[in-house]
């Protein structure tokens, strides 16, 4: 029998190891798996590379991992937001490395990793500082930059609902990076606002369960 449900947030994050590359869904405060991140902060597991759109704001979410000194490296598109104090503090002290990636390139690098694609050419970033040192090519008269896939050990995902097969659907703009990140990690862990007793209506599934390894419930909305 397939049953990906896990009893607690703590059990769900127990497989995360020091030095792991961890993708974290969310944009702003929508779609961030706050429950899983909090559980990860409590483990104290360190040396993590975090891949996410932002680098946390306030004291919760990715900020908690930065505050606890668990993050060695951040790969994101927009680290500086109102309230990103913990990121800025660690960055200015030289305690965290930063790789800035244009947002669409970040999404597509993750998609490539999850889809078995060895990289792609994009016009994004051509002729800018972010293309320095990268392979470029002129295709039909336009300049393109070669970008590589971005894999992770772990993906932490926030969904609106999940069933025991790991099928997921999302709510409003809390979808954002979650579906694509779910495809790109060796081990994908989900917190869902609702864990359904019944199978999800197949037409409504956004992330098919094959991409998901563990599902746990966390009812709180941001």
């Amino acid at each position: 029998m397939i049953d990906k449900r896990v009893a607690s947030l703590t059990k769900a994050v127990a497989s995360i190891r020091p030095g792991d590359v961890v993708m974290i869904g969310g944009f702003g405060s929508a779609g961030i798996p706050y429950g899983l991140i909090d559980a990860l902060a409590q483990t104290g597991v360190g040396g993590l590379t975090v891949i996410s759109n932002n680098a946390g704001a306030g004291e919760e979410g990715i900020s908690a991992l930065l505050r606890c000194g668990q993050v060695a490296r951040v790969i994101c598109s927009y680290p500086r937001t109102p309230g990103s104090i913990w990121f800025e503090r660690r960055y200015e002290a030289g305690e965290v490395e930063l790789e800035v990636v244009p947002q669409g390139t970040l999404a597509e690098r993750i998609r490539a990793a999850g889809s078995g694609i060895g990289g792609f050419f994009t016009r994004t970033g051509y002729g800018t500082k972010l293309a320095e040192g990268k392979e470029t090519r002129i295709i039909d008269g336009h300049g393109y930059v070669f970008e590589k896939p971005l894999h992770a050990d772990i993906a932490l995902i926030r969904a609106e609902a999940a069933d025991r097969w790991g099928n997921l659907r999302y709510h409003a703009t809390a979808r954002n990076f979650n579906p694509v990140m779910a495809t790109a990690a060796r081990h994908t862990i989900v917190e869902a606002r609702m864990v359904l007793d019944e199978p999800m209506e197949p037409e409504g599934v956004v992330t098919p369960g094959i991409f998901v390894d563990a599902v746990t419930q966390y009812e709180v909305r941001p």
Partner: protein
Amino acid sequence: MNRLSDDDVARRLAQDIPDRAYVNLGIGMPNKVARFVPEGREVMYQTENGLLGVGPAPAEGEADPELIDASKKLVTTIPGSSFFDHTTSFSMMRGGHLDIAVLGAYQVAENGDLANWATLDESHPPAVGGAMDLVVGVPRIYVIMRHVNRDGSPKVLRRCTYPLTGPGVVSRVYTDLAVLDVTDNGFRLVDLAPGNTLEDVQAVTEARILS
């Protein structure tokens, strides 16, 4: 010299958003434009975090904390709205499906170069977001900004000195002093804020403005 308020610059730009357009508005001053689009035009706003058809701020007590725009403000849906994930969102942007993007800028140059994501101050972490994806994929890039910096230094330049968001991408610039088109020959005046002359504006512009 007569300077338009930010709202009035947004109002001027909004006149150039046609009926049925698909538009992405950047964070800050660009976000004001939606309020001033003339009645009778149906415009679909896209926000990069996964909503096409961005509606106004929610009524009191009806806010959904998971329904936000790219500046993290609470928004609503409108008839015809759709939700989608980030890969689909950036297919809309890079794939040429949007008609117009309105962006803020640190600097714009007469060759259409745009700098709006990083300065020369290395102590602050850079933040690029979706700007580089928009400028390569959206056919019309409108920049909205103040004409000069607070210290009086020019932002409308012969060449950008800050790191580029994209080379040769800007179509038109809307400032508190003038509207300028980017042409093969450099900036060309479209119109002036009421009460100003071209000579006034040229005096605070590094690049040459063709009349």
